[in-house]
Symmetry: C2
Subunit: 843 residues, 2 copies
């Protein structure tokens, strides 16, 4: 297998498979009837490659490659060879044999179809080093860098920090803008409703409330459906996938950023049970990505210095910073943001990055702080005192006994069970919604409208079933409140009474959480009200994620979690001294642990939210337990969505069955390779007929004594080289000339979707017959493994170093110098288990 730009193909597989699925839903006839691949005659790797490999016999090698490529092209015209021997439908079935179907079926068929650009981009320490990252670093560090270059190095380092600063400022601003907009829009909506309720115009109040919600929801859905479909959902799985090396085209585009910002504001204001945290992370990543694209030539917003960032590693680093900044902005939790990026988002981490990320989140924290200081004097409408410190410790005791710890243990277990159930249901709902969403923008909006109406009915309807509560006497706050927020909503109740369920439902999500977290309000909420609210929020949270609006998962989970935490607290009230607000906090922690499966970062985020480090041991305990319990059932919600969307995510560890295979077992041929000095025609043909992003180059006599692997050359560099038309009539080395024509930066990685395309080439008949020297653009030291290397070890190498192409070389001598190329797709369980279906993963 040679290419990694196989998004299109993957899409086909998925489509094919989904269609098949429609008829035989769970038990698959093929999966049992087909003999396992290893029993096929000639199915071992060596045989599989034989027709091409053997043709490399030493001796008559001078024009071997040409005929080979042409032969191959004739045979496979129009097909991507990547899945040759696999795409015939039968093998695919085996990839998706019964047991794996439920889990591995990718959801977004449509998206995978439109992402033929999935180019496995963006995730590397030094993958394509000699010509992508290293070309920049070589420019900077290699030759003569003591004099002139020192300035450039300084520019480069300075720019990294400036970018971190800009990301911090940008994300902080967006975070603040989001907060202020939501508080104002939702605030006025709630004020209007409350006002009408006080005048006892109940029906009008409902119409106003539901109408506002509907309008806001439709606007959000329209933005999402028409401008940037990629902005729907949380965004964290996409960012996670990007940082793992998967660049689904529009994920970090400017349009996505725009929709994510405004869609999130509208969606949250519309009263959905969604949060702004996921979207904030996505927003931060988008801002970082746009910075890292090297400006925009279209709008003349480009700058010479920016070219240093035209490489994968720096872009990845920027986006990691962006993700951290997003969390920092959403929760005002700078340390939590760094830890989130480290624990959940990033697949590769360097200690230099820790420092830069920390700087970014510190900037975010400072920006938010400055603005909130400004708003605290009432300059920002309904923003109020703002601030996210939800659980005020000063009035609660935090010493605890054995009974308290038992209650906390119980909370953890419940959180784990509810969390894994939540993940399971979200998965099911996403699959259902995807069928609806695929039918077009209209259906998407219709779905949003339905959910919006349902949410409005729940929020406005359920409080009617609750009796009024008399206001407590020893209060420092107003009761009932006529304010937009507040702990005691009057709803339909007479003066001096309040409706506890309305206090939860008819508030923004942030305020509802603050109410649940409030201390010294033990009896404020009835057990029945808490139960109803929990059930409603749990279900609404599940059915809301997946509709076409930007929707975070944190807030629904915190909301439901804190609600059942308070419930458990009420049940334990007789034997525990812990405050109900603390129980709510621990409930939120347990549910977060059960769904997201993060530990340290969640813990720190919660502590930063509540500003009390004395809670730490309890929060830790509850997180550990809920994660452990939930891990028995399924994966974390983000991992699940990543799988569902069909991103070829590389895990950090190797699967156990990989220990039984060697690298050579999963390489699929035939291989398209070039000579060191290759005919233009060959290259053009190979580029036209394959989607491969990397080609091995093999030096042959007279350029070397025997055929030897010279290195790897990338499609993008070939395109630049061909565009430059530095051809010669004879088969000679012309390396020096090429570097007179090109500078290193010509080969630097272009921004997403900005690189040269095959269609940009314009080569005439005469030029087709000429030769071009590939040596100057070859990555002459690709990472290699011997074909007998354990696949598990190869996978670890691939992932740890962050490769995109790994050359497999033969063990014995006298064979052609390269056996094949391993790409990300070759390590996917779908591919490996497709080849060896008897090696079922059993855990």
């Amino acid at each position: 297998m040679l290419t990694d730009g196989s998004g299109l193909n993957l899409g086909f597989i998925f489509l094919l498979q989904s269609l098949t699925l429609a008829s035989h839903s769970q038990t698959h006839p093929f999966s049992h009837n087909f003999p396992s691949r290893t029993n096929f005659p000639g199915s071992t790797t060596a045989h599989h490659r034989a027709p091409v490999s053997r043709s490399y016999a030493p001796g008559d090698r001078s024009d071997q490659p040409r005929s080979k490529v042409i032969q191959w092209i004739k045979k496979n015209d129009g097909n991507d060879i990547e899945n040759e021997g696999l795409v015939d439908g039968k093998d695919i079935e085996r990839c998706w044999s019964d047991k794996n179907i439920a889990y591995r079926e990718p959801l977004l068929r449509k998206r995978t179809n439109t992402t033929s650009q999935i180019a496995i981009v963006g995730s590397n320490v030094s993958p394509i080093e000699s010509l992508d990252y290293e070309i920049i670093e070589n420019e900077l560090f290699k030759q003569d860098w003591r004099s002139r270059k020192k300035v450039q190095i300084f520019q480069y380092i300075l720019l990294k920090w400036v970018f971190a600063l800009i990301i911090g400022l940008g994300t902080g601003l967006v975070g603040f803008f989001n907060n202020i907009a939501v508080e104002n829009i939702a605030g006025y909506k709630l004020l209007l409703t409350t006002d009408l309720m006080l005048k006892q115009k109940y029906f009008k109040a409902f119409v106003a409330y539901a109408g506002c919600n509907l309008g806001l929801a439709t606007a959000a859905a329209a933005l999402c459906a028409f401008i940037a479909p990629a902005a729907a959902g949380s965004g964290i799985p996409e960012v996670k996938a990007y940082l793992n090396g998967i660049d689904a085209y529009t994920i970090l585009a400017p349009s996505t950023l725009f929709v994510k910002i405004f869609g999130s504001i509208l969606g949250v204001s519309a009263g959905f049970v969604v949060g702004k945290e996921g979207p904030m992370v996505h927003t931060g990543a988008c801002i970082a990505s746009i910075l890292g694209q090297g400006g925009s030539r279209k709008y003349h917003l480009t700058w010479k210095w920016l070219r240093y960032f035209k490489n994968d590693r720096d872009r990845r680093d920027l986006i990691t910073c962006g993700a951290a900044a997003g969390v920092a902005a959403a929760f005002r939790a700078p340390v939590g943001g760094v830890l989130f990026a480290l624990e959940e988002a990033a697949s590769w981490w360097r200690s230099a990055l820790l420092w830069r990320t920390f700087f970014t989140t510190a900037i975010v924290a400072m920006v938010l702080r400055a603005f909130m200081e400004y708003c605290s004097s009432g300059n920002c409408g309904l923003f109020g005192t703002g601030g996210l410190i939800m659980y005020d410790v000063s009035s609660a005791t935090v010493s605890y006994s054995v009974a308290d710890v038992l209650a906390v243990l119980l909370l953890g277990v419940i959180g784990g069970i509810f969390g894994s159930l939540y993940n399971y249901l979200v998965d099911k709902v996403l699959r259902t919604y995807s069928i609806i969403n695929e039918r077009g923008a209209g259906f998407k909006i219709l779905l949003v409208i339905t959910i919006s109406l349902l949410t409005s009915c729940c929020s406005f309807g359920l409080p009617w079933f609750v009796k009024c509560h008399a206001c407590p006497t020893n209060l420092t706050v107003e009761c009932p409140t006529a304010d937009a927020s507040g702990n005691f909503k009057s709803f339909q109740c007479p003066s001096g009474y309040y409706n506890d369920l309305a206090s939860l439902f008819l508030n923004t999500n942030d305020d509802a959480i603050r109410n649940l977290f409030s201390t010294s309000t033990e009896k404020e909420f009835r057990i029945s009200s808490l139960f109803v609210f929990f059930a409603a929020v749990y279900c609404l949270g599940i059915i809301t994620y997946g509709i076409a609006i930007p929707s975070g998962l944190f807030i629904p989970v915190i909301l439901a979690g804190s609600c059942y935490g308070r419930l458990v607290g009420r049940l334990f009230a007789s034997i525990t001294k812990l405050d109900m607000g603390l129980f709510a906090l621990l409930g939120a922690a347990s549910f977060l642990g059960g769904t997201m499966r993060m530990t340290v970062s969640l813990c720190v985020i919660l502590l930063e939210l509540t500003n009390d480090l004395l809670l730490l041991p309890l929060v830790m305990l509850v997180l550990l337990i809920s994660k452990t319990v939930a891990d028995c059932f399924n994966k974390g919600v983000y991992d699940q969505i990543v799988k569902l969307k069909g991103f070829p995510f590389m895990e950090a560890y190797a699967e156990p069955y990989m220990r039984q295979l060697v690298a050579g077992d999963v390489v699929s041929g035939p291989l398209v390779s070039f000579s060191g000095v290759e005919k233009v025609e060959m290259i053009v043909h190979a580029l036209r007929t394959t989607g491969h992003n990397g080609f091995p180059v093999i030096d042959e006599p007279p350029f070397s004594d025997a055929p030897e692997l010279c290195g790897l050359v990338l499609r993008s560099h070939l395109l630049v080289l061909l565009k430059g038309k530095n051809f010669s009539r004879d088969r000679v080395l012309t390396g020096e000339e090429i570097f007179q024509k090109f500078t290193a930066f010509d080969f630097a990685k272009a921004g997403s979707g900005k690189g040269l395309k095959f269609e940009d080439l314009d080569i005439n008949e005469e030029e087709m017959e000429m030769y071009v020297d590939l040596h100057p653009i070859i990555n002459s030291s690709p990472y290699t493994v011997v074909e007998t290397m354990s696949l598990a070890k190869a996978a670890i190498l691939f992932r740890q170093i962050g490769l995109r192409h790994m050359c497999v070389v033969p063990k014995a001598q006298g064979r052609p110098p390269i056996v094949g190329i391993l790409t990300r797709h070759d390590f996917m369980p779908e591919h490996v288990l497709g080849l060896y279906p008897h090696m079922k993963p059993c855990k």
Copy 2:
């Protein structure tokens, strides 16, 4: 270069070099006179290896290896080949050419001499996989693991958590014990002194004070000098080196643990300007290491389950947990502990580890909390309320203006400058002390006594120069205090007056820090007193580190930092509203940033110490600035000590000059290799005459068509195999039989110093002539690089995957199948720049 057990040799190099240094101290005559290595005739790698490499000509290979090894043995009898071509004195000079001398000269010549056991142990994801780690995992996961093995997997996973629990409990207990012991010992000492002072018996008071100090100090020094010299110093550099893969023999031994615990208590009680934080980290690591050794057969404390931990990765993970637990216990900072382990201690990190480490530190926090709850009712003597929350926020405002931020910026810059100066001076002092310490235990103790007397004189003498202060009127605490601790010491002052300098000097370090951090005590300390205290503590801190007692660096740095922070605060008093206590905190942060160069972990530790997250932006800012400033001058203090001790530490990044070299350039031959079925005599000879820990095995006809690299075999496994005496008279494969005789666990990694030694072998003449089949113990998929691979990339592979041996294979065909083996030492700047001295590192 083939071995990595070259501690002895390294020691010699160091010794040689140091001796040379004595005569030509700075400018080295050789370094300029010798032509650079690349100009030597035949100095390219291929030629360098030629005599042996060429003998691999295909054809007459059947008994080639034997004659080759014997020839080589005759030539090099008794020498370690690792540095062949290097140890002749001239090349070494080049390693240490003028510019690098000051920095790279290792300090502990004596130690490196006794650490021929430095076996580059303990640091790997999958280094020697097929037979070290993988043997366990294979046992667990590979074959047939669905039935019987499931129990084992459960045992294995459960045990990991149990170990984390035990480490947490153990470190928590030690931390608590340390606290309580120090508070009581130092407390009674101070009470006695204060008592005598009150009776105006000043001389007696001094004698009592200095006498107590001297006694405690001598006891600590005696423990250290006679029982475990490795327990001296902080311990963090050693743990860091261990986690990087360097196992200096006694670093984690039980005797070290014992001395570290008691020596630290005695040393801190003796009034030295040292902390218990570094020793706590070392203690945690020791506890973890002893757990990971698989019990003690000597004391019948072994257990079948423990064998699962007989591998490097699990031991490394345990020790990472231990280091985190140490920080958590020292500062009661569980999140800070995790981040410390991540940022400073660990060289490899896995997300599973994050979780387990977090669990350990949570346990530590809970243990400490439980004991402190118990002690708060006065059950623990002078322990008092304990607790480490030093800076109580409730009485201080934390809103700040631009002027405040400017003051903070200044603090950061000063902290950076002082911090780097501190590192520089510590380095110099360590070098001086090492000369004294080398002369024997007596000299060590004498040095400790000197420093102890000096410290006592400073502490008791300097307060005499200070005038008495009238007690403030609006106090809630006693003034002057007669207590052991307390903010207002009377010293020589009459009733109603206090001596501010004595309040700082005549307290434990913890109490002094608490006094400096105290809020709302703006005028308590005079500027002059602060200045004197700062100067004294700064100097004492520098001259105390390096004496033969367990001594942490955190407390001296915090002490000096908070002192100058308060000083700066006093200077800015007119334009800032920030509290003096807050300035002290920020000063401590800036100085910590300037010396340790950590960011996130320091920040979180400080926040957990002070329990106020609102300080975060300021603390972040000050840390970032001080680190940036200090990084302009030198490295962090721990990195510096690691280098100084001569540990071959692998950095995460490749040096720029490595980009200009290829892997083949640094491989040094000749190579000792075995055939797949080798004569016993050959193996015994190779084991006896070399210190190599890994040997390549090359299969030859009749076992393969052509010579091919079969894999790597480790010295330890060879010893086990030879001990088993599974020999055959003929050159045949006997693989199956071997696995009837051995179980996988026989080859599992033994504890430090517990493995089989060469001397344990007992092979007679007849057996020497027999053959042994090496195939069953070969690591058949070692990581390989092609000889033309960029050295920088090879280094990244080596470090990222965590290897100990990396095979270099030839590029062209028709050459012997292996060019050489790269070990950690081959990537050291000393080695590379020794070979290519013209490639000076210039940054």
